[in-house]
């Protein structure tokens, strides 16, 4: 009987030891996986009004070299209550995070969002330049 228990304990211990030796995947302060990807860009951009409908009059122009996003919004858009949506390259993340409505009403001081690559080594600030349709 003792022999049986010994074998059982040993069997249970082996996976623990094995798991303990395995190298953990690195995660960042947000609990997101840090990968090997170095790409760092915005692939598409959307801007929604308080009614969750788009306020863009046409597709946003994303310049990955100049690191700007030019977006024209409809006449009469409430710029104080907008929800921006960024689509980023795989594994990248955005700083600051978007947690709710954003005030874009100060057109002379456009907002800047930084894209951080999957390996967290490349950081590129993108400026969101809004113009209102006349």
């Amino acid at each position: 009987m003792k022999k049986h228990i010994k074998i059982l304990v040993f069997c249970l211990l082996v996976p623990f030891v094995w798991a303990g030796c395995k190298k953990d995947f690195p995660i960042d302060e947000d609990g997101l996986l840090i990968t090997n990807r170095g790409e760092c860009y915005v692939s598409s951009f959307e801007l929604l009004g308080s009614d969750f409908q788009t306020v863009r009059s046409k597709a946003a122009v994303i310049d990955t070299t100049a690191q700007t996003i030019n977006v024209e919004v409809f006449f009469g858009t409430d710029l104080k209550n907008l929800y921006p949506q960024f689509s980023l390259v795989t594994d990248a993340k955005l700083d600051p995070k978007i947690v709710g409505r954003v005030d874009f009403s100060d057109l002379s001081n456009p907002k800047t969002y930084t894209v951080i690559s999957g390996n967290r080594k490349v950081k590129k600030p993108y400026t969101v330049i809004i113009t209102v349709q006349k």
Partner: protein
Amino acid sequence: MQNKYFINITFLLAIILLLNACKEEEYAIPETKDALQNDVIKRTLGPNLVGQRIEFAYAMAVPRTRGKLVSAQVEASIEGATGTFLENRSFYTNGSGQDVGVKIGEPSATEGKITKVSFTTDTTAATLRYYYVIPEAARGQTVTFNFTANSSNGETVTYAMGPYQISKMDMKLDLAVRDGAASYISIADMAVYTAANAAANADKIDLVYLHRTTPASFAHSLVSPAADPQYLPGITLPAGVNKSTKVSKAFGLRDQQLARLQFGIFIDDLDFQELNLADAPNFAINMRAESGVWVETADGKYRAYIFVNSVNNTNKSAVISIKRFTLQ
């Protein structure tokens, strides 16, 4: 020794399982209760608004051997407004889905809180609809109902329904607004005024309806009189019309009582209580049919939801419906 016990227990368990499996449950027609019985369902959904109806279906039946139905009555805890009645017809649904009424007595008589129907036909079962028109006195209160049926053998059954909360909201449906004509909207009056009438009610005008074709995204708009003049092109406001009303656009919020469409969405008192329009603008440009705006008046007295039922680009007009909640 241990093994023996184990085998025995397993055997016993197997026998129990077998026995259960062999038992056959035979269907038996449920026996009717030998008494007068009743049941009620509430047919209307959503917030209970003053002036609107709450509809119930009251079913009652007595076994043929015990007699027939004599009378049915409903007692409301708060006297219903004019138009409250108990159907004198028992409805059934025919093969085409139509509700067909069979007359069982004279139309109901309402005395105070009690609405009563006396049966004149010899019947043992009936389902009567009860329509309670919510009176002004019930605003913000709860109301309960007692449904009672009597049979010829002296039996009486009662079914209590409620309590139901009566909303503090007001509702106004299908107000026609038109650019350059009836375009001044008052939340306080829940009405639409022309420029001439608006001058007379200047302190009550909260929004201006207008339609412009340029820019294309202007279209049907609800703009408060104090908004940036670029949102009121070509509008000369009547003297004294100067309120800054907060509005926030909403899309897909098709309240069933306002829209009367298939969507089961209801705006209730709580929505207005929790509404936060602190950062909202004072204009809503490019309103589309079946969209809406949350509104808070400049004096903070009312919050409202204006639903756009339909728009007409040619006539530069729209039909709107309003639900309003009084804050103070």
